[in-house]
């Protein structure tokens, strides 16, 4: 055997792949996967608004029931105080929500929301840089807009929209309805809670009432005291498609909200999703969203809508993007 590293490498490669034959039907299987992915992505688009603050990877349905509220007296008192305050906080919800999210893997995103309008925009991040028309990274040129999803006004009607900037395409869908709480059968998302972008106060109240979250303390953030509300961890068995894709069986989502004690509007949100139980190895994905509330000027309100740039080509669904 040669002692030249290049030759050894060639021989090693031959040996590593020796006798490997591709199974028959690869193209048929790819077509099947593509069809399944279309379905999943269609469902994901529906859930995109839910995932706005967390750059959702996959929407899963929590099949389990939610536990009862905490039993300690202090806990009950804290919850009661929160609930009473929340009831009086509704008037504070008329500002524009702006959430800036950083998550595992240098994946920045920004969420704008106002009433039923919302826009989640993801950027490529500095590591990826500019992308080509297939969405592949160039590792040059700095972060740029990658995709936007949320609501758009099309012919004067509010509709769901998904825009991919790298290939100049967009697709439309019905507007996703926000969940009223994080109770019961809930759409949980990668790295975070099912976050509504309107009716925050009633969402928090309902979620505390049913025990899906509890008040866990007070934390100072940027010189401001906040109330920490922690969601009950939710574990779901992954659907067959997701499980096969990631070689894991379960996903567990944990989330924490830090809210302004007077308005009960979120200041920061942290979401964590872990996968486990399969051969893929335990993983953890975390996202942190810092929230600001801006006055509802026409310029700020306009940012809560997805705009479709002129010349973009409409396709049937996100699966074609």
């Amino acid at each position: 055997m040669s002692t030249n590293v290049e030759d050894l490498l060639r021989e090693g490669m031959q040996r590593f792949t020796e006798g490997v034959r591709a199974p028959a039907g690869l193209a048929y299987r790819a077509a099947q996967r593509r069809r399944r992915r279309r379905i999943v992505r269609g469902a994901m688009l529906g859930g995109a608004a839910v995932a706005t603050a967390t750059a959702a990877a996959v929407a899963m349905i929590a099949a389990g029931t939610v536990a009862q509220p905490g039993t300690s007296l202090a806990q009950a008192r804290a919850a009661a105080l929160v609930v009473s305050r929340v009831k009086h906080a509704l008037a504070s919800e008329h500002n524009v929500f702006v959430g800036r999210t950083l998550s595992t893997g240098d994946q920045p995103s920004v969420t704008w929301a106002y009433g039923a309008h919302n826009r989640f925009e993801e950027f490529t991040g500095t590591q990826c840089g500019r992308v080509n028309t297939s969405g592949d990274c160039s590792h040059q040129g700095g972060s740029q807009r990658y995709l936007a999803t949320g609501t758009a006004l099309v012919n004067g009607k509010l509709t769901g929209a998904y825009v991919t900037y790298f290939d100049h395409k967009y697709s439309l869908s019905p507007v996703y309805k926000m969940p009223a709480s994080a109770c019961g059968r809930t759409a949980i998302t990668m790295g975070g809670p099912p976050l509504p972008t309107q009716h925050w106060s009633s969402f928090i109240k309902a979620t505390l009432d049913c025990g899906a979250a509890k008040v866990t303390g007070h934390v100072w953030i940027n010189g401001q005291e906040t109330i920490q509300i922690t969601g009950k961890p939710i574990t779901v068995r992954l659907g067959r498609g997701e499980a096969n894709a990631v070689h894991e069986k379960y996903a567990r989502a944990l989330w924490t909200l830090y809210v302004n004690p007077s308005s009960y509007l979120p200041v920061r949100m942290i979401g964590v999703t872990e996968t486990f139980g399969g051969s893929g190895g335990h993983t953890r994905f975390e996202s942190v969203t810092n929230v600001h509330w801006l006055p509802p000027t026409s310029a700020n309100v306009a940012k809560a809508l997805v705009t479709i740039p002129p010349g973009y080509h409409q396709v049937k669904s996100p699966a074609d993007q």
């Binding site: 490498l9 060639r10 090693g12 590593f16 690869l26 193209a27 790819a30 077509a31 990877a57 894709a245």
Partner: protein, 178 residues
């Protein structure tokens, strides 16, 4: 209907080329299972563009395969992408029986190289491409290919040198090709 036809055409094409492509995918990912996933993902993308494809499907497929292996994970599904990042440090346990062969050790080290260095070395030493051809396939500047190949090979040489010294120390003088 059009998709059915595309699938049938793709099956015919794969009858000749699938083995080679799967082997390349294995070298890029480190296992047969992951290689098959990578190839499937590239095939999905090829199917998506089949009707508008202008030129050789193999060239498109190979380029997709390599791009996905290096940085195309942005399109490969967010969850999968995150798992790639999170598992970056986790490597398959070494097989003690395979330690005896430097060729196997080199392959294990190859699988631990950063994806871009690995892709370049697979292009150069598996696909037998020149630096210019590698640059064209990956869509990178030739200088990037050269530096990635050089860094990757340097690490492999370091390993080979360390392995030889360890062998000499443990067993006395012996040819590597023993």
């Amino acid at each position: 209907m059009a998709e059915d036809q595309a699938v049938a055409e793709l099956e015919r094409f794969l009858a000749d080329r699938a083995d080679h492509l799967l082997r390349a995918a294995m070298l890029l990912t480190g296992s047969r299972e992951a290689g098959q996933d990578l190839l499937q993902t590239a095939l999905e993308r090829l199917l998506r563009h089949w009707s508008t494809l202008d030129g050789d499907p193999e060239a498109y497929l190979r380029r997709t395969l390599y791009n996905l292996a290096t940085d195309g994970f942005r399109r490969a599904g967010r969850l999968q992408r995150k798992l790639v990042l999170l598992r970056a440090e986790a490597r398959p346990a070494a097989d003690p029986a395979a330690e005896v062969d430097l060729r196997d050790a080199l392959i294990r080290l190859l699988l631990q190289l950063p994806p871009r260095q690995r892709a370049v070395l697979v292009c150069r030493y598996w696909e037998q491409l020149t630096e210019a051809e590698t640059a064209e396939l990956l869509g990178w500047p030739e200088g990037t290919v050269k530096s990635a190949a050089s860094r990757g090979l340097r690490r492999l040489r370091d390993l080979a040198s360390g392995w030889q010294q360890a062998e000499l120390h443990e067993t006395g003088p012996r040819g590597l090709g023993g």
